[in-house]
């Protein structure tokens, strides 16, 4: 099958029909080019989405409350659910193995003043674990620690923008800034890759704010990260258990999402994965449709070639060529054209992606690229495409009757 004579014949046909071969090959190359580009684009979108979410720990879970929408357990609908410190303790004790970091959140607004500069910022009062959950990058000083919580210390970690606004060129660390008239010592400055708005935030110990606001033990929401070794199913299973227990504890109907909801990042990731999977499917579908056009083109040229070579095939058969040998010849030629032109398309797409891919870095689209498996798949597709394109013409060739081919009329 792979001897020199077969190749000699293939090269000869290609050589005598350069333009025709090129035009047909182009259609397949183009199809593969588009297919790879589409897949790379989907990849780019996926990268973009993942990049967006990377701002927070991807294994984070948030417990939020609201007002119940259903009557349950003897309570009427419309009851306000309030999380308290002991809810946090309860979760900690119930799921010691599942939880990596846990923190309460308490939201407040503060009018901050330093010397003559003032500004209005949102304050998130948290536990030390919150740093890991939100992936807060402390660039100077430190984050809130356990001692701050115990001492109810009036300390604050301020965003880079806050520092710029209030302190201008001064170093804020150790300075006192007034929040609603109360002095807080700046212990750290953080940045956030996510967006500028996040850098207009202030973190303070949750216990401090609970005391300032009426010595309460109320908290607004609970943020936590689960064991990072969990896979998606384990993660979802954990948040489900958490939700059931929290709803039972607060006597909320199991299906009542308004009363209490547990939001798992894994779910969002799951959604994104299925979204990009659909996009990928569409990309592959469109690419295949274009490829079919290419295959039909190759099939067309092969039919033509065989019509031209009917006499030659007849002579070969008279000289003792078996039908299978004729089929081999045609199929090999078809696979050869398809594979070569497809590889050229693949190479072009790959070069373009390698050159400009890394430069593309937008929130929704970054570094479009293809991986090895895509390339291997494309190659297999090409060979199959070549066989498909050559099959019909090859069978036609094998059925050439020597007498018809040899009649001189």
């Amino acid at each position: 099958m792979f001897d020199r004579d077969v190749w000699q014949e293939i090269f000869n046909t290609l050589k005598t029909n350069k333009l025709r071969t090129f035009l047909t090959g182009f259609s397949v190359g183009w199809a593969i080019f588009i297919l790879v580009m589409l897949l790379a684009s989907v990849n780019g979108m996926q990268n973009g989405f993942v990049g967006q979410f990377n701002d927070d720990a991807t294994n984070s879970v948030f417990v939020r409350t609201g007002t119940t929408s259903k009557a349950y357990g003897g309570f009427e609908a419309g009851r306000r659910i309030q999380l308290k410190n002991d809810d946090l303790e309860y979760i900690k004790q119930t799921f010691p193995k599942d939880i990596e970091y846990i923190s309460a959140r308490y939201y407040a607004n503060a009018t901050a003043r330093y010397k003559s500069e003032t500004g209005s910022y949102s304050v998130q009062a948290t536990h030390p674990g919150h740093q890991a959950i939100e992936k807060t990058l402390v660039v100077a000083g430190r984050y809130i620690n356990e001692a701050d919580i115990v001492n109810k210390a009036k300390v604050a970690v301020i965003g880079r923008k806050v520092a710029e606004d209030l302190f201008k060129t001064e170093d804020p660390l150790g300075k006192f800034v007034e929040f609603n008239g109360l002095p807080f010592r700046v212990i750290g400055i953080f940045t956030d890759d996510g967006d500028d708005n996040a850098e207009r935030r202030i973190y303070a110990p949750v216990s401090t704010y609970q005391r300032i606001y009426g010595n309460t033990n109320e908290i607004a929401s609970i943020a936590l990260t689960y064991n990072p070794n969990y896979d998606l199913t384990e993660a979802l299973e954990f948040s489900e258990r958490l939700e059931i227990l929290m709803k039972r504890r607060h006597k909320i109907a199991p299906e009542d999402q308004a009363g209490l909801s547990v939001w798992n990042y894994a779910e969002a990731f799951n959604d994104i994965s299925s979204f990009t999977a659909v996009l990928k499917g569409i990309g592959i579908g469109v690419g295949f449709l274009i490829l079919i056009a290419g295959i039909v083109g190759i099939g067309n040229i092969m039919v033509f070639t065989i019509k031209e070579r009917t006499k030659e095939i007849g002579v070969r058969k008279a000289l003792g060529a078996r039908p299978s040998q004729i089929v081999n010849l045609v199929l090999l030629e078809s696979v050869f054209i398809t594979a070569i032109s497809g590889f050229v398309g693949l190479l072009f797409a790959w070069m373009i992606l390698a050159a400009i891919g890394p430069m593309i870095e937008t929130p929704a689209f970054s570094n479009p690229s293809v991986n090895l498996s895509t390339v291997i798949t494309a190659t297999i597709i090409l060979v199959i495409a070549g066989v498909l394109a050559g099959l019909l013409p090859a069978m036609k060739a094998a059925n050439v009757k020597p007498i018809v081919a040899l009649s001189d009329k």
């Binding site: 020199r4 002579v315 058969k317 008279a318 060529a321």
Partner: protein, 233 residues
């Protein structure tokens, strides 16, 4: 070598069928040089196609070298053609992008003869037809007579039992025709069985036996005194 009994063949032409061979009985011994003559439509080409296993008969028996030729699959027919028969065509039918030597080697390729041996044999047969110096030339670089000689070398390369020549001189002028016939006679002298289809009297008389076909039947079958082509060359 060849034995045919009561061979019938008809072609469907639309609604009516054309009865081309109406019962041919005919025997060829080893080493014979037979001319099959007849006007166009007499059935001589059809007979040759059936003898060449390019077409099947409707009824009758055909035995070639003791092997009954009947209901052959495409693959089997290809094998038998390769093993038993060598074809010489009116229009030479050389493959135009292959050199003379490669054309001669082609039947050997289908016999799965190794490449090197193929080339040696091809050169040997080209030498026999006097075209060794042209081995590397493409058919387009050869004259008509040379092309037919390459075709004869190709037909002989597989060492077939029978050579079938369909109007081998039909496309050649008389001088070249005689050269080709001279070659065919010499091959026959070596003991090869050859069937020549022709409608030219002088060519037919260069064979040893003439079979006349008319309207699908053999009307005359006679041995003739062979005219040597050598004297005209």
């Amino acid at each position: 070598m060849i034995e045919i009994k009561d061979l019938h063949k008809s072609y469907k032409m639309g609604s009516n069928s054309l009865h081309v061979l109406k019962g041919i009985n005919f025997k060829v011994e080893e080493g014979e040089l037979v001319a099959i003559m007849g006007s166009s439509g007499s059935g001589k080409s059809t007979l040759l196609n059936i003898l060449g296993m390019l077409d099947g008969a409707d009824s009758g028996e055909y035995t070639l070298d003791g092997v009954p030729i009947k209901n052959l699959s495409e693959t089997k027919a290809a094998q038998y053609r390769n093993k038993f028969l060598g074809f010489i065509f009116q229009s030479f039918n050389l493959i135009n992008y292959k050199s003379a030597a490669e054309n001669v080697a082609l039947p050997l390729y289908y016999q799965k003869v190794p490449r090197k041996e193929r080339q040696e044999k091809a050169m040997q047969y080209l030498e026999r037809v006097g075209l060794k110096p042209w081995a590397g030339h493409l058919p387009s670089e050869l004259s008509g007579g040379q092309k037919q000689r390459v075709a004869i070398a190709r037909a002989m390369a597989a060492e077939p039992k029978v050579l079938l020549a369909d109007e081998p001189t039909g496309a050649l002028d008389s001088k070249t025709s005689y050269e080709v016939m001279d070659l065919i006679q010499k091959i026959n002298d070596e003991g090869n069985t050859i069937l020549v289809v022709t409608h030219e009297e002088d060519i037919a008389h260069m064979c040893k036996r003439i079979v006349h076909l008319k309207d699908g039947l053999i009307v005359e079958d006679k041995k003739v005194e062979q005219v040597r082509a050598e004297q005209y060359v």
